[in-house]
């Protein structure tokens, strides 16, 4: 129970990165939330209407040349 001194240096390094590096990087709360927000949107189920739309567009265009 005494060896709880882990990662103090890692914390300091993280602090330096947050202060000097990418302001929207993984050490930024805003940066993390932004990615979480966006990833949730990206992983949302895509409705069938879009695949249908593309098939429909394909049908209405002139047939592709064979060679």
């Amino acid at each position: 129970m005494k060896n709880m001194t882990k990662d103090i240096t890692a914390g300091a390094a993280g602090r330096r990165r947050a202060a000097s590096g990418d302001p929207l990087g993984p050490n930024s709360e805003i940066g993390r939330k932004l990615k979480q927000y966006y990833d949730e949107l990206v992983s949302d189920h895509v409705p069938d209407r879009f695949a249908q739309l593309l098939s429909q567009l394909e049908r209405t265009e002139p047939a592709p040349k064979k060679d």
């Binding site: 602090r15 302001p23 050490n27 990206v42 567009l57």
Partner: protein, 183 residues
């Protein structure tokens, strides 16, 4: 007009999740977003010849989607929000509790940003575009994107009452806690 290649169609299909995410970020409305994506796909299909193979298709599509969004807004007679506008009065939101920021609060805060700032911070912080690519998508200078991202970030911090995140990030806090325990 030459036929749309199979690979172009496949790539279009593959881009839909990102396009929808960007569209929701812009419109803040799922139905409007899907209509916008539909318009974007039709436009992209019609002008597929103007896409240069080997260049960034996602950036090309985002540009079309963004132009469509702003032209629809103009048609509806809505003024595009100005970043330096009068949003400050609406800024108050309850502070994040225990330093843990709720995604719902974050969404609400994002919604309060002017469109130009919101799109900039999304393109840079979430969609993975470079400042140069984002500038091209938005048709503005790289410096403009940088300043919009920076203002967006500052405003989000204000709305969410995250103060001095640089000095007091989670890493710093855990370091302090473990540090004092160890001493």
């Amino acid at each position: 007009m030459t036929a749309v290649s199979q690979s172009f169609k496949t790539d279009l299909l593959g881009s839909i999740p990102s396009l929808r995410a960007f569209a929701v970020s812009l419109t803040q409305n799922a139905d409007k977003a899907d209509d916008l994506v539909q318009e974007t796909l039709v436009k992209a299909w019609d002008k597929h010849e103007s896409f240069q193979p080997g260049t960034n298709l996602k950036a090309w599509l985002f540009t079309i989607l963004r132009n469509e969004f702003y032209s629809q807004m103009r048609k509806r007679g809505r003024e595009v929000q100005d970043s330096d506008g009068i949003m400050t009065a609406r800024l108050a939101v309850h502070p994040a509790q225990h330093g843990q920021l709720d995604l719902k609060d974050f969404r609400g805060a994002l919604e309060q940003l002017p469109e130009d700032q919101r799109e900039a911070i999304i393109l840079i912080g979430a969609s993975g575009f470079s400042y140069e690519e984002a500038a091209e998508i938005c048709g503005c200078a790289v410096g403009t994107i940088k300043s919009r991202v920076s203002r967006a970030r500052t405003r989000l911090q204000e709305i969410l009452k995250i103060s001095g995140e640089d000095e007091y990030g989670p890493d710093a806090i855990s370091a302090q806690v473990t540090g004092s325990n160890a001493a």
